[in-house]
């Protein structure tokens, strides 16, 4: 029971941290197809195929990998990390050329990764993490997500005024976003971050909505608050609803993740002016290129590659 609960909580934490995002313009597949002539086999293993975001990222990777002439197998263990270890071991037995982890924390599958390492099979993380035997992990640059949205907000309010930040520091990704955003706001001498509010999860939308209501009460005059920066889209939605319900004007909101509901709010032309989407398509494409280079004997320079996000605005 407890085991299962931990999984559900875990899954949930990942789900919101990787909240859905949709495609950017498709990129033409790379012309170059493999180097050695012999068909390569890649095993993609994931615990999270049920998650729309994971599914999308893996499908994009499959597309780019097949364009390179590789065989790709995808295995989903439906959040079962124990089974995931078995599937990695199976892939090792089948002597695949590379293993790709479609999300999921490598720390929870160490035994499988060690087996791959022992067999000399490289493991690549697709928004997973680093761990033993993981040659490289490709992921979003949370700092860039925070910085870009903060800059957009700062410019939207004309570089001056009071800003409220909605944060969730216990989550490392959201924390990195908030730190980068705060640093960006510090570049604007006339912007003051007056409040940093910790947003509780689960239930971030309603929580943020109530907090925003109270902040509007505490700062009752137009101009007291110029903007609200939220570490992810859910609290930005709650803030937007509170501002609209209170009929306050002159407050703009930005979020992060480019979720479908955020895009809908942004399109409405209300207080929610921008979000930023993680570029899973770009991640998948670049990972395929990195693996190809690896097959050709080019070892990557580091064990981590960070992909910038793509702004979602009204334009």
């Amino acid at each position: 029971m407890r085991h299962k609960l931990v999984h559900v909580v875990w899954m949930f934490a990942l789900m919101w941290s990787l909240a859905a995002c949709t495609a950017v313009a498709p990129v033409a597949p790379a012309g170059d197809a493999g180097g050695t002539g012999q068909t390569k086999t890649i095993a993609v293993v994931t615990p999270y195929m049920a998650n729309a975001t994971t599914k999308y990222a893996i499908e994009q990777f499959e597309k780019y990998a097949k364009a390179k002439g590789w065989n790709v197998t995808v295995t989903d263990t439906n959040a079962d990390f124990n089974l995931l270890v078995s599937r990695i071991e199976d892939a090792v037995t089948q002597k695949v050329d590379a293993i790709v982890l479609g999300m999921g924390d490598p720390a929870q599958m160490t035994k499988g990764l060690e087996a791959a390492q022992a067999a000399g099979i490289p493991v690549f993380g697709l928004d997973a993490g680093n761990g033993p035997g993981v040659v490289l992990n490709i992921t979003s640059d949370n700092g860039q997500l925070g910085r870009e949205t903060a800059r957009y907000l700062a410019e939207a309010i004309g570089g001056k005024g009071n800003v409220v930040m909605f944060t969730h520091d216990p989550h490392p990704g959201v924390r990195a976003r908030a730190e980068a955003a705060a640093a960006e706001f510090a570049n604007y001498p006339e912007i003051t971050v007056i409040e940093k509010k910790h947003i509780e999860v689960p239930g971030p939308v309603d929580f943020a909505r109530s907090v925003t209501q109270d902040l509007l009460t505490a700062y009752p005059n137009d101009g007291d608050i110029a903007g609200i920066w939220a570490g992810w889209d859910e609290p930005a939605l709650g803030a937007t609803q509170a501002i609209e319900a209170a009929g306050r004007s002159g407050i703009v909101v930005v979020g992060i993740d480019g979720t479908d509901f955020a895009r809908a709010e942004i399109a409405k032309g209300g207080p929610f002016i921008a979000s930023i989407a993680q570029d899973f398509d770009g991640m998948a494409k670049q990972l395929a290129d990195i693996i190809e280079a690896y097959f050709n004997g080019e070892k990557p320079a580091g064990d981590s590659v960070q992909i910038p996000g793509v702004m979602v605005t009204r334009e």
Binding site: M1, L5, V8, G203, V205, P220, D260, A264
Partner: protein, 324 residues
């Protein structure tokens, strides 16, 4: 002479103790209001802020009120938060699929009642402890919501008419507050003014004796869970209307907060028994505290600490007084 005066001193002390334990939490609540009003004059007690507070607590109050019924019979329902999420997801999905407003809402309530029935069967007829049974169903309901929505948020295509429950007003009063008042009134009436209610209290007081007295203890416990399931589902509908979107875990915070509110209520007015007026003041206390601390711009983490401390103080105060 001496004996008599010491007797009357003891009597006095007992009276003071009783007074403290019955009204201590309530006095604390009033003191909190006075402090917030003094620190932010003209802001905290403004009609706008009072409306905000009642709107903010309405959903929690609905869940806590029906949770009170389960706690009256001596059980818990840990599944209410997950159930609120599930019913919210159901109502949103049906509305998006074009099912009419009222059929969709009734379907969501039916989900709540069925889930409550299931909880009640597990506890009252299969003899599982309420803690274990509702912990398990909580997990299952959460899984259902996530499965149903694929972990995403439902928002696109919800008809405007659905704003009725969580966003519209009747005169100056938010409809969510009216729904809350109705739930409070009906539950209070059922618990305090009907034979059914008195029987629920009897079961909570002594299930064995109630059984020997000829009460259908199992059916009574089961009915309490059905009421709680209905309350959770109704809260889920109001929450989804308020957010105009269904998030698969949106109702989760309601579970612990509603239990906390009932416990706070048990320290008020009456001795150690859950009751609707106490629960309502408990809910208000939690709501006023979070609103007031936000307005005073208190650090979010410290707010959590203060909330815990206040709950402990209330329970300790009533407990200590009981010993005296």
């Amino acid at each position: 002479m001496q004996t008599e005066s010491s007797l009357s001193t003891t009597q006095l002390r007992q009276d003071a103790n009783r007074w403290l334990r019955t009204y201590g939490t309530f006095i604390g609540f009033l003191a909190m209001i006075v402090i917030f009003s003094l620190l932010r004059p003209g802001v905290f007690l403004s009609p706008n802020n009072l409306r905000n507070i009642t709107e903010q607590v309405a959903i929690l109050a609905i869940v806590a009120t029906t949770m009170t019924v389960v706690m009256v019979v001596g059980d818990f329902d840990l599944s209410v938060g997950a159930l609120a999420s599930l019913s919210g997801v159901v109502v949103a999905d049906l509305l998006i699929q074009g099912v009419g407003l009222w059929p969709a809402v009734l379907a969501a309530l039916a989900v709540g009642a069925t889930a409550g029935l299931f909880n009640g069967l597990l506890v009252a007829y299969f003899g599982l402890s309420a803690f274990v049974a509702t912990l398990a169903t909580m997990t299952a309901f959460r899984g259902l919501s996530l499965f149903y929505t694929n972990g995403s948020t439902l928002f696109s295509g919800i008809p405007e008419s659905f704003r009725l429950f969580g966003q519209s007003f009747t005169g100056p009063i938010p409809n969510s507050v009216l729904i809350m008042l109705a739930v409070l009134a009906v539950t209070w009436f059922v618990l305090e003014q009907t034979t059914f209610g008195r029987r629920l209290y009897a079961v909570g007081g002594n299930a064995q004796a109630s059984y020997l007295a000829g009460l259908n203890v199992r059916a009574l416990r089961l009915s309490a869970f059905v009421i709680s399931g209905l309350g959770a589902a109704l809260a889920g509908v109001v929450l989804t209307s308020r957010l105009f979107s269904a998030h698969p875990t949106a109702g989760e915070p309601l579970m612990l907060n509603s239990i906390a509110a009932v416990f706070l209520g048990m320290t008020m007015f009456r001795e150690g028994e859950p009751h609707v007026p106490g629960t309502f003041v408990g809910v208000l206390l939690l709501g006023v505290m979070s609103n007031g601390l936000n307005i005073l711009q208190v650090n979010s983490y410290i707010q959590l600490v203060l909330t815990g401390v206040i709950i402990l103080l209330a329970v300790l105060l009533s407990g200590l007084a009981r010993r005296g």
